[in-house]
Amino acid sequence: MKAKIIITPKKAVLDPQGKTVQGALAHMGYEGIGAVHVGKYIEIELQPGAAPADAEARLHEACRRFLSNPVIEDYKLEVIA
């Protein structure tokens, strides 16, 4: 079982990395590129035996308290058996 967590900057937050990547893609000739958002991907391996619902609830808490900063970031959590 593992958890996949994707953390992205909130839309209202300045994202200079995303802007720079967007500019570079356009510069390289890639057409049709809109806004780019650069975030983080965290993969957590879960030890066997944990109840998936339990693990998911605890990971949501960890995402809110530590893995993401709710002031500036959104997160998506997926637990895969």
Binding site: A12, V13, L14, F66, V71, I72
Partner: protein, 235 residues
């Protein structure tokens, strides 16, 4: 007055802060991040650096260290806490100050002198700054762009919690004087109770003539004056 200067793995301005406090005529001691008490200090400085490598986000790991639990209790009891640079980031992550510090808008690390306008001179961190004096203090950071949502920004302004703003040499708060994209040119803020403050510029690096500026000393002196006032009030 006795200052506690926190020391995390990869703090790198801890000794600077101790030195700055001592040259100003006060005492300071280092408190290791695993400590659970602050040794009876009168005030706390959370210094600059790259605590715990700044992995995940700046200050995100440091906020859970044992010593930060002591700092939270100290702050909740009204103790004076000043966060400088990484220390500011840690205090925001810990929820002791509102908002967050994100990557500079130009993605570059800025190491340069800036000018600061004191937006609220009547606080424990600013009272000794001569009226109208524009501070010249260096910055050294890659993630110093202050962000908070609109409601938080309005509250900060309405309550006078914005302490310092990036300005030009004449004290004009302009876009050109903003080194990192901080909203409202915010360089430093205080909490609602005005006993916790943080700023990205380094007063510790502007506290002796040999460093080119002594303007940072006014901030430490303001804290000392506030502590002395409290002692007199109790006595």
């Amino acid at each position: 007055m006795q200052f506690a200067v926190l020391q995390f793995p990869a703090s790198n301005c801890d000794q600077d802060c101790v030195h700055a406090v001592r040259v100003a005529g006060h005492s300071a001691s280092l408190v290791w991040h695993k400590e659970t008490t602050l040794g009876g200090a009168d005030a706390v400085i959370v210094p600059g650096g790259f605590s715990y490598g700044d992995y995940l986000r700046c200050g995100a790991i440091a906020r859970f260290s044992p010593v930060m639990q002591a700092v939270k209790a100290f702050a909740e009891a009204g103790g004076l806490v000043l966060g400088i640079c990484n220390g500011f980031q840690i205090l925001c992550e810990a929820g002791l100050l509102p908002g967050a510090l994100i990557r500079n808008r130009d993605l570059q690390f800025h190491c340069e002198q800036v000018f600061l306008r004191t937006a609220n001179p009547a606080t424990p961190f600013t009272s000794r700054i001569p009226a109208g004096r524009i501070l010249r203090i260096p910055i050294a950071h890659g993630e110093g762009c202050y962000f908070a949502d609109d409601a938080t920004l309005s509250r900060l302004q309405a309550r006078g919690q914005v302490l310092w703003q990036y300005a030009d040499a004449r004290g004009e708060v302009t876009e050109a004087a903003n080194p990192n994209g901080s909203l409202l040119n915010i360089a430093g803020i205080a909490n609602e109770a005005f006993n916790v403050a943080g700023l990205m510029p380094h007063p510790d690096r502007a506290s002796e003539d040999v460093l080119g500026s002594t303007d940072g000393r006014w901030i430490f002196e303001s804290m000392v004056a506030a502590l002395e006032d409290r002692r007199r009030a109790v006595a």
